[in-house]
């Protein structure tokens, strides 16, 4: 199982597995960081011809691929689903609160390639910044979830302990 570990503004981390590739970005803009990560990921696959089966995108140090590994082999290579294993990382409301940032998730590499281009979206509805206090962080999640749904991808929460 070849996993690319994509680190978004993560200085220190510990893993319980050996990634095939570690790519790091320190850009404070979430979508620009995704752009840089996706570009390097695609170069590894298509130019360097490195086999990558899975992507583990991390914004916090709760990195445990083994939790996901047992079921990952049953998921087809052309899977169009983004998998979350931490409840508080879901990009929607939990107990009335939206998460401050999108948490860690797993997906096939071709999905992350598209996420890396979200910063290009021209749709003004998803680009506008909401002023309401309740929605002040939703400009990131709105744009992300719009792109995921519009492209035909899906989000799934898998409660692994």
């Amino acid at each position: 199982m070849n996993v690319a570990l994509l680190l978004d503004n993560l200085q220190e981390f510990n893993t319980n597995f050996t990634p095939a590739k570690i790519i790091s970005s320190k850009n404070s803009d979430r979508f620009i960081a995704m752009r840089d990560l996706a570009l390097e990921l695609d170069e590894s696959i298509y130019v360097d011809k490195m086999p990558i089966d899975w992507v583990l995108y991390c914004v916090n140090d709760n990195i445990r691929f083994s939790d996901f590994e047992a079921m990952s082999k049953y998921i087809p290579a052309d899977s169009r689903t983004i998998f979350f294993t931490e409840e508080n990382s879901m990009p929607w409301e939990v107990e009335g609160k939206l998460p401050a940032i999108l948490g860690n998730f797993y997906c096939r590499p071709q999905i992350f390639s598209v996420l890396g281009s979200i910063y290009k979206l021209e749709n003004f509805q998803v680009n506008r910044r909401y002023e309401s206090k309740d929605y002040e962080i939703s400009d990131i999640t709105t744009k992300l979830v719009y792109a995921i749904n519009r492209t035909g991808y899906q989000l799934q929460f898998i409660p692994i302990k």
């Binding site: 570009l39 170069e43 298509y46 052309d78 169009r80 096939r108 390639s113 890396g116």
Partner: protein, 287 residues
């Protein structure tokens, strides 16, 4: 007129040196700045022979015509795939990577992006002021409306010769190498399997799966008038039997189609070992 247009030319080298001046003429007045990207590889799949494409060959074709070649790559073949869909898809991804790197380094986005092939001749509209309707997120302008494919009855098909999109949608379009349907692994019927995975059908399946929508400037014109809304009158693949001294701009569509028909081309399954299994991982092929 748009500011910046990226033209990503991907595919086998074929008749590029014969066609290139027409390609440059087709795009030259479509944007204030037209940037070209060129990605090819060292094989001719019609006969399986390796051909030596040099960097100088690629550069000279642009330099002699005073065109801006931003980046290029001649890559080793990835191995024999079951349909040419995957061959072109791989090169498309490399071309897309070059474009994305340029956008990142220059901190800009292209207004429109065209992906086409080295051997495709595009006939301009007679009306020189023919304006493009610009593609937005998730829309594309391709060749022909999705229609029943003669070679794959019952399946929708699109030609794999020209796609215009915005930069975001090009990133999705160029992501198609990873596409395959799980049914492929269970379908052992020769006919239905070939029909379903013939490259013209596969591209439609990919576009549908990613919810990409054809750009029709006016939805009421999805009939014969539709062709007036395309970027060109008609297009054709220039095969090696077209005389080098023939002025393509003066040649009739029927004449060029006759050359193409006479040249012929083996179907995918005849020259790339059809039925060899599901999509292979990239591999090095011995020269």
């Amino acid at each position: 007129m748009i500011n910046r247009l990226a033209v990503i030319i991907v595919g086998e080298y074929r008749t590029w040196e014969q066609v290139c001046k027409y390609t440059f003429n087709f795009f030259h007045d479509r944007a204030i700045q037209v940037d070209y990207y060129f990605v090819t590889w060292n094989i001719d799949t019609s006969n399986g022979r390796f051909i030596n494409i040099t960097n100088e060959q690629i550069i000279d074709s642009f330099k002699s015509a005073n065109q801006k070649l931003v980046n290029y790559m001649a890559v080793d073949v990835i191995g024999l795939q079951r349909t040419t869909f995957y061959n072109l898809a791989w090169l498309s991804k490399i071309g897309n990577l070059l474009k994305r790197k340029e956008e990142r380094n220059g901190n800009f986005l292209y207004d429109q992006v065209v992906e086409t092939r080295p051997d495709i001749y595009l006939r301009r509209h007679n009306n020189k002021k023919h304006e493009w309707v610009l593609c937005t997120d998730y829309t594309f302008l391709g060749v022909g409306s999705p229609a029943n494919s003669p070679s794959s009855p019952g399946f929708l098909a699109l030609h794999d010769v020209y796609y215009r999109t915005n930069s975001f949608t090009n990133d999705i379009l160029a992501n198609r190498y990873s596409f395959k349907d799980a049914a492929e692994q269970f379908n052992t019927s020769f006919f239905t399997n070939y029909a379903a995975y013939e490259h013209h059908s596969l591209i439609v399946q990919y576009l549908c799966k990613n919810n990409l929508r054809p750009l029709y400037p006016d939805d009421k014109k999805i009939n014969d008038d539709y062709f007036l809304d395309r970027d060109f009158q008609w297009e054709i693949s220039i095969r090696p039997n077209v005389p080098l001294d023939l002025n393509l701009d003066l040649a009739s569509c029927d004449l060029l189609r006759q050359f193409s028909s006479e040249w012929g081309r083996k179907q995918d399954f005849q020259n790339i070992g059809y039925g060899s299994g599901i999509l292979r991982q990239p591999e090095q092929v011995k020269k």
